[in-house]
C-alpha cells in the first residue's frame, strides 16, 4: 500500500512541478535583468488560461498536427514515471533503462518536428530542420555521459544507478565530473536552452523550439508548453538523481522519503539557478557553432568512459 502511494507521488511529481521550475528560472532571469518578473506560479496560470481558450488550426494541417501534442506530452509522462526522482528503492526493470528513456523522449522530438512541418509555413519547417540537427547530435553526448555512470555502477538501470553511485570511490570522481559536464551540455541542447535556443523569443533567426510550435494555440499549445517544461524537469531530475544522488531515499521509511523529496527540491532549485545564470550570462551561439559544442559534450563523455574502464 505504502509503495503504491509512493509510486503515485513518483508519477505525479514531475508533471506537477515542471511549470514551477520554468517559473523559477524566469523569475531568476528577471532579477538578473533588474526586473521584478512575474510570480513563479505564472506558468500555471498560463497553462490554465491556454486550456480554456478556443484554438485555431491551420487548414493545411493534417491529423499529425492534431495528434502530435498528445504524443509529445504522453512521451514526457511516460519518461517522468520511469526515472528515479526521490527514491531509488523503487525498482523498475520494465522501462527504467537509459536507452529506453532516450528513445521514448525521441518519440516526442519526432512528432514535434513533424508537427512543425505539417502546417507548411516557413517557420515550422526551419524549426524542425534545426531541431533535428541539434537533437541528432545531442543524443551521442547524452547517451555516453549516462553510460559513464552505468560503467561505474555496473548497470544501465536508472534506479540501480542512483542507488549505487552514492558509494563511489574517489578514483571515479574525475570521469563522473567530466560526464556531468557532457550531460549538462546535452541538457541545454535537448531542453532548448541557451546557448542552443532562446526559449523566450519569436525571432525567426534565433528560434528552434518556438518556431515549430508557432501555429499551435489553445489546449494543444498548453500541452506542448507543459511537455517542454516537463522535459526540462526530467533532465534536471536525471542530472540530480544520477550524478548527485545524495539524500535520495534508499529505503521505505517516511522520514527518508520526506527527506528525499526535500533534497530533490533543493537540487532542482540549484539546477534552475545554474540554468538561469547561464542564460543571463552568455549569448546564444550561431547555429553552425552548435555542433562544436555538442561534439565537445560527446568527446568529454568518451574521455570519461576511457577513464572509467
Amino acid at each position: 500500500m505504502a509503495e503504491i502511494i509512493i509510486w503515485i507521488i513518483q508519477i505525479l511529481i514531475l508533471p506537477a512541478l515542471s511549470p514551477l521550475c520554468v517559473g523559477i528560472i524566469r523569475k531568476i532571469k528577471a532579477r538578473f535583468q533588474n526586473r521584478q518578473g512575474a510570480s513563479i506560479f505564472q506558468p500555471y496560470n498560463d497553462l490554465w488560461k491556454l486550456f480554456h481558450k478556443d484554438e485555431v488550426i491551420s487548414r493545411d494541417a493534417s491529423w499529425i498536427f492534431r495528434f502530435a501534442p498528445f504524443a509529445i506530452f504522453g512521451a514526457t509522462l511516460a519518461v517522468s514515471a520511469s526515472i528515479p526522482i526521490f527514491a531509488s528503492f523503487l525498482s523498475n526493470n520494465f522501462t527504467g533503462d537509459i536507452l529506453t528513456i532516450i528513445y521514448i523522449l525521441a518519440i516526442g522530438t519526432f512528432f514535434l518536428a513533424l508537427a512543425g512541418l505539417d502546417v507548411g509555413g516557413a517557420f515550422g519547417g526551419f524549426g524542425s530542420s534545426r531541431e533535428m540537427t541539434v537533437s541528432s547530435l545531442a543524443e551521442g553526448g547524452l547517451l555516453f555521459s549516462l553510460l559513464v555512470l552505468s560503467f561505474v555502477s555496473g548497470t544501465t538501470n536508472l534506479f540501480s544507478i542512483s542507488g549505487t553511485i552514492d558509494s563511489l570511490s574517489l578514483a571515479s570522481l574525475l570521469p563522473v565530473v567530466l560526464a556531468f559536464l557532457g550531460f549538462f551540455i546535452a541538457l541545454l541542447a535537448e531542453t532548448a536552452r541557451f546557448p542552443f535556443d532562446n526559449p523566450s523569443t519569436h525571432l525567426e533567426l534565433t528560434m528552434i523550439h518556438e518556431a515549430m510550435i508557432i501555429e499551435y494555440s489553445g489546449k494543444r499549445l498548453a500541452l506542448i508548453e507543459w511537455a517542454s517544461a516537463s522535459k526540462l524537469l526530467i533532465f534536471i531530475t536525471l542530472g540530480s538523481s544520477l550524478f548527485f544522488p545524495w539524500g535520495i531515499a534508499q529505503s521505505l521509511s517516511l522520514s527518508a522519503i520526506i527527506f528525499g523529496i526535500l533534497v530533490f527540491l533543493a537540487k532542482a532549485l540549484i539546477f534552475c539557478l545554474a540554468i538561469a545564470v547561464i542564460e543571463s550570462g552568455i549569448a546564444k551561439l550561431r547555429l553552425f557553432r552548435l555542433p562544436d559544442l555538442l561534439l565537445f559534450s560527446f568527446i568529454l563523455s568518451i574521455i570519461a568512459i576511457g577513464l572509467t574502464i
Binding site: 493534417s62 518519440i107 519526432f110
Partner: protein, 681 residues
C-alpha cells in the same frame, strides 16, 4: 503436425510452387491480367507454405538434409535446413508473401507497357533463387543458385527498360554483383582446396585443416564478396541505383531480403564453418559496420529520391547488423561465447526487423510513386490528405526504422547496443576503443536516421502539395493497402513479442556450431523482461507499450478534463501578410542542408551559382539565376575512379601484345603450352 510439415515433399512443393508461378507467368504472357494473377497466386501459395515449413523447421530439434544426386561429378543438389537456414526461409517467405499480395494491385499500372509475364517469371525465379541460396549445401549448387538469384534480380532491375537510368543502374549492378561473385568463388574454392570437398558439411567437419593464413584470406574474400551483395560500404555503389530502379515490390524484396543473403553467408562461414576466430576479424567487421552505418545515413540525408533514400538506409541497417556480427566475432575469439550469442541474436533480430520495416517503407514508397509518377520528394507534399492510409503505413515504417518504441526496430537496436556495451566493459585496451567507436557511431546513426525520416515523411506527406501530380494523387488499391497494413502490424507485433523472439533467436544461434552448449548472456523472464548479463540492463516490451498507451490516454484525459467545450476554428497558416505558396515550404534540400554543412568534411557538398544578365555590359538586371547544389561521391572519386583508370592502363599495356600478326599468336599459344606442360610435370 510439425512432422508432416517437415517432410521432403513439403519442401519441394514450395520450390515447385515458385517454379509453377514462373512457368505459368510465361505461359499467360499474352494476357497481362492472367499472367499477373497466376504468378502472384503461386508466389503467395509458395510463401504461405514456406512460412509454415520454416516455423516447423525452427521448432524441430534436428537439422534436415535432402540430397539429390546429379549426373555431374562434384555437383549434387544438397539442401541443408538447420535452424539458421529455416530462419532465413521464414524471412524470405514472410516478405515475399506481403510483396506478392501487394504486387497483384501494383503490377496493374504496368499493363500494356511492359511484359507482365516476364515480370512474373523473374519474380518467382528470384524468390526461388533466394530460397535455394539459404538452403544449398554444395558449393557448386550454391554458386548456381546464387547466380540465378543475381541474374533474376538483374532482369527485374532493368524491367522498366525504357528509362535510360534503369538500364545503367542494371549494368552497374550486373558488374558489381559479378565482381562480388568472383571473390565468393575464390573464397569457396580455397575452402575446397584445403578440405577436399564441395559439400558444406564435409568442409565444416575438416575446417580445422585450413591453415590460419588461408583462413584469413578466405575471411577477407568472403567479406568482400558477400559484403558486395549486402551493400557494405565501399562496395555499395550499385545498391542506391539498382534498388530504386526495380518495381517497388521487387525493391522491397531486394532491400529487405536479398541483401540479407550476404549476411546469412557471412554468419554461415564465419561462425558455423570456422572455429578459432582470430580477434582482428571482429574488429574489421565492427569498423566496416560503423562506417557503413554512419555514411549510409549521411548519404540518405542528402538524397531526394524517395526510393534512393530508402536504399541508403539499407546500407545503414546492414551496418547495424554488422555491429552484432562483429561483436559476436570479437567475443567468440576471446572465448566469451555467451556474449557472442547476444551479439548474434541482436544481428538476427535486426535482420528480421529490417526486412519488415524496409519492405513496408518500399511498398508505401511504391504506392506514392505509382500515383504521383515521380520519385522526387521535392515534388510531393501534402499527400497525407490524398493518400491517408499509405501515409499512416509509411509513418509506422518510419517510426520502426528510427528505432522508436514500441516498434520492432527499437528492440533489436537495443540488443545491439547491449552487445557493444558488453564489449566496452570486457574487452582489452585496443578493442575496447573499437567498441566505443562503434557505439558512438550507432547512437549518431540513430539520431541522424530520425532526422532523415522526419524529412522523408514530412516533406512527402505533410504541408501543401508542391506539384500538380501530388494534387491528383489518390489512395491506392486494396491489395496494396493490405500488404502494407499487414507489414505494419508485423512491425508492431515483432516489437511487442521481442522477449519471446529473443528466446527463439537464442535457440537458432545455439544451433550454430560455435555456440553449441553455451548459455547466452541474457535471459527472458516470464513477464517478458529481457535481462542482459544478470541485471546490467533490462526492459520489457509489453510494459513499454502499456506505459506509452497509458501516458497517451492520460494526456487525452487531462485535456478532456481541463478543456471541456472549447471551439476549434479552421484558419490559414500564418503567412506574414503574403499568400503562402508551395514554394515557401521547406524543401528536402533545405531540411537536410544544415546537417550536410556540419558533415561537409565527409560529404563534400559543392555549390555553383550562375547568373545570366539581361545586358552583359550593364550587370544590374539578372535574367536568370541557377544554383546547383551537389554532393560529390567520394567513393567514385577516390576509390573506383583510380581503380578504373588503373585497369584501363593495364589493359592498354596488355593490348600491346595483340599485334594482329598471326605468327606472333602462334608463338603465344606455343609458349603457353610449354609453360603448362612444365607446370603439370
Amino acid at each position: 503436425m510439425f512432422e508432416t510439415m517437415l517432410s521432403q515433399s513439403t519442401f519441394f512443393a514450395i520450390m515447385a510452387l515458385f517454379v509453377l508461378g514462373a512457368i505459368t507467368a510465361l505461359f499467360f504472357r499474352k494476357d497481362d491480367k492472367l499472367a499477373n494473377l497466376a504468378s502472384s497466386f503461386f508466389a503467395i501459395l509458395g510463401s504461405l507454405l514456406g512460412i509454415a515449413y520454416s516455423i516447423a523447421a525452427i521448432n524441430s530439434d534436428a537439422a534436415i538434409f535432402y540430397e539429390i544426386k546429379s549426373s555431374f561429378p562434384l555437383l549434387s543438389f544438397n539442401f541443408n535446413i538447420d535452424h539458421l537456414a529455416a530462419f532465413f526461409i521464414f524471412i524470405i517467405s514472410l516478405i515475399s508473401l506481403f510483396c506478392s499480395i501487394y504486387g497483384i494491385g501494383y503490377i496493374k499500372h504496368y499493363y500494356g507497357k511492359y511484359s507482365i509475364g516476364g515480370l512474373g517469371f523473374f519474380y518467382n525465379l528470384f524468390i526461388l533463387g533466394m530460397l535455394c541460396v539459404v538452403t544449398a549445401s554444395n558449393i557448386l549448387f550454391f554458386l548456381m543458385v546464387w547466380e540465378i538469384m543475381s541474374l533474376a534480380s538483374y532482369f527485374l532491375v532493368i524491367y522498366e527498360r525504357d528509362k535510360q537510368e534503369n538500364v545503367k543502374a542494371g549494368f552497374l549492378y550486373f558488374v558489381m554483383t559479378h565482381i562480388g561473385t568472383a571473390f565468393i568463388i575464390l573464397a569457396l574454392l580455397l575452402m575446397y582446396k584445403f578440405t577436399g570437398s564441395f559439400d558444406f558439411f564435409a568442409i565444416k567437419e575438416s575446417a580445422g585443416s585450413i591453415p590460419p593464413l588461408v583462413k584469413d584470406i578466405i575471411f577477407i574474400l568472403a567479406l568482400i564478396g558477400f559484403g558486395t551483395k549486402a551493400g557494405v560500404i565501399p562496395f555499395h555503389i550499385w545498391l542506391p541505383s539498382a534498388h530504386p530502379a526495380a518495381p517497388s515490390h521487387v525493391s522491397a524484396l531486394m532491400s529487405g531480403v536479398m541483401i540479407k543473403t550476404g549476411i546469412y553467408m557471412m554468419i554461415r562461414i564465419f561462425f558455423d564453418i570456422f572455429t578459432d576466430i582470430p580477434i582482428w576479424w571482429g574488429g574489421v567487421v565492427l569498423i566496416i559496420g560503423a562506417v557503413s552505418a554512419l555514411l549510409g545515413v549521411l548519404y540518405a540525408l542528402t538524397e531526394h529520391d524517395l526510393k534512393k533514400l530508402l536504399a541508403y538506409h539499407s546500407i545503414e541497417n546492414i551496418g547495424i547488423i554488422l555491429f552484432g556480427i562483429g561483436s559476436a566475432l570479437s567475443f567468440s575469439s576471446m572465448g566469451m561465447n555467451s556474449f557472442a550469442i547476444l551479439g548474434l541474436v541482436a544481428a538476427l533480430f535486426h535482420t528480421l526487423n529490417h526486412a519488415t520495416f524496409k519492405s513496408l517503407l518500399f511498398l508505401s514508397a511504391g504506392s506514392v510513386i505509382s500515383k504521383t509518377h515521380t520519385g522526387n520528394i521535392e515534388e510531393y507534399g501534402g499527400l497525407i490528405k490524398y493518400m491517408p492510409q499509405t501515409a499512416f503505413f509509411f509513418l509506422v515504417g518510419s517510426m520502426a526504422i528510427s528505432a522508436l518504441p514500441p516498434f520492432n526496430g527499437f528492440f533489436s537496436e537495443w540488443l545491439t547496443f547491449q552487445a557493444l556495451f558488453e564489449g566496452i566493459r570486457s574487452m582489452g585496451a585496443a578493442y575496447r576503443w573499437i567498441f566505443i567507436f562503434s557505439a558512438g557511431s550507432l547512437i549518431l546513426t540513430s539520431g541522424l536516421a530520425l532526422a532523415c525520416f522526419v524529412k522523408a515523411f514530412g516533406i512527402t506527406f505533410l504541408a501543401r502539395p508542391r506539384s500538380e501530380h501530388a494534387k491528383q494523387a489518390k489512395e491506392s488499391l486494396f491489395s496494396l493497402k493490405f500488404g502494407m497494413a499487414a507489414l505494419s502490424a508485423v512491425c508492431l507485433l515483432l516489437g511487442l513479442f521481442s522477449g519471446f523472439l529473443s528466446g527463439i533467436f537464442n535457440n537458432i544461434v545455439r544451433g550454430i556450431r560455435l555456440f553449441n552448449g553455451y548459455e547466452p548472456a541474457f535471459s527472458v523472464s516470464q513477464s517478458h523482461i529481457i535481462n542482459i548479463n544478470s541485471g546490467f540492463s533490462s526492459l520489457s516490451a509489453p510494459a513499454i507499450f502499456v506505459v506509452l498507451s497509458l501516458a497517451g490516454i492520460a494526456a487525452l484525459a487531462i485535456t478532456r478534463l481541463l478543456a471541456k467545450d472549447q471551439k476549434v476554428k479552421i484558419g490559414a497558416t500564418w503567412d506574414c501578410g503574403t499568400d503562402l505558396g508551395p514554394r515557401m515550404e521547406i524543401t528536402a534540400t533545405g531540411f537536410s542542408r544544415t546537417i550536410i554543412m556540419i558533415f561537409k568534411g565527409i560529404l563534400k557538398p559543392s555549390k555553383q551559382a550562375e547568373i545570366e544578365y539581361r545586358d552583359a555590359n550593364m550587370r544590374y538586371f539578372p535574367k536568370s539565376r541557377t544554383l546547383v547544389l551537389e554532393i560529390s561521391d567520394v567513393y567514385r572519386k577516390y576509390f573506383y575512379k583510380p581503380l578504373y583508370n588503373f585497369v584501363l592502363k593495364i589493359s592498354g599495356q596488355v593490348k600491346k601484345i595483340q599485334s594482329g600478326n598471326v605468327n606472333a599468336y602462334v608463338l603465344y599459344i606455343f609458349t603457353a603450352l610449354i609453360l603448362l606442360l612444365f607446370f603439370a610435370v
